[in-house]
Amino acid sequence: MMSGQLWGVVVAAFLASLVEFVEAYTIVLVVGVTTNWRSALAGAGAAMVTLAVLVTALGTALVRLVPIDALRVGVGALLVLYGLRWLKKAILRYAGITALHDEEAIYEAELARMRERGEQHTQGLDPVGTATAFKSVLLEGIEVAFIVITFGAQASGVGAAALGAAAACVLVVGTGVLVRAPLERVPENTLKFVVGLMLTGFGTFWGGEGLGAAWPGQDAAIPVVIGTYLAASSLLVLWLKRGRTAARRTGIPAVVEDGAAR
């Protein structure tokens, strides 16, 4: 039977890990919905294996040996790079500078052409998608391991802290499975816009943390960072639309095919 103090460790580890699992699962979900689930799960699986090896090999020494800030800066920079490129494409489409494509029609036509040629449609591993899922799950997984080790060490209850973290993982993954289907019905450009905002927001938050920024409210600052990017992106769409309107008046064609704008 667990003491009140150990139950306290379970609850504290559950709540702290819940935030980290939500962050990791968000990125996996984003890669799964926008790239493909094979890449998302491969990245997440590889990260969990790496994490298991690290935890098994280092044990509680993990807290001292893994340079968590350097990891945050590296992962943050790559997420911002990836996120900004998606955000830029989505903004150009919203502003009408890049033509909006009917992605579903293009997909169906491509599928029909592949069938005619007798080819099988496979969803191969996307290197960028796999790497994004891998980095995020590894970083958040290490943070969860830090929580379990530090919370558990304070009350001599690593097992109780691990129980709390495992419960948080089950809750987040279970909820994620339920929201997956509705997300897949969101229009493609809207999804890419939201994904661009989220990746840029998470990347800025983690990168800033690694560099020494103290975010007010800690993880609660993430929605504020994403909201700031949303406001700035909306203003940029308006700015581009004004440029397009002005170009139309002077007779310059303003719409280009997708892919020309990178």
């Binding site: 920079a77 790079l81 903004i91 500078i97 800025t204 560099l211 103290a214 600052a221 700035a232 704008a261």
Partner: protein, 68 residues
């Protein structure tokens, strides 16, 4: 084209696809890192500066595509 070549080309396009974004983000992380190290700006100021630089980088990158 084999898988390795495709992966190398994909990585090249990812890194060099938009030089403004790549250089801008590298610069923003470097500036914030140096300021944090020197102790000139503390806490939330660093985060706010980082967000501002990222928005400027995005605007500069979009500037190239804006019809004139």
């Amino acid at each position: 084209m084999n898988r390795l070549t495709a992966a190398v080309i994909s990585a090249y396009h990812f890194v060099a696809g938009d030089a403004v974004i790549l250089c801008g983000i590298a610069a923003s992380f470097a500036i914030v890192g140096v300021l944090a190290h020197m102790g000139n700006i503390h806490g939330a100021g660093l985060g706010a500066l980082m967000i501002a630089i990222v928005i400027v980088v995005l605007a500069l990158s979009l500037q190239r595509e804006r019809p004139r």
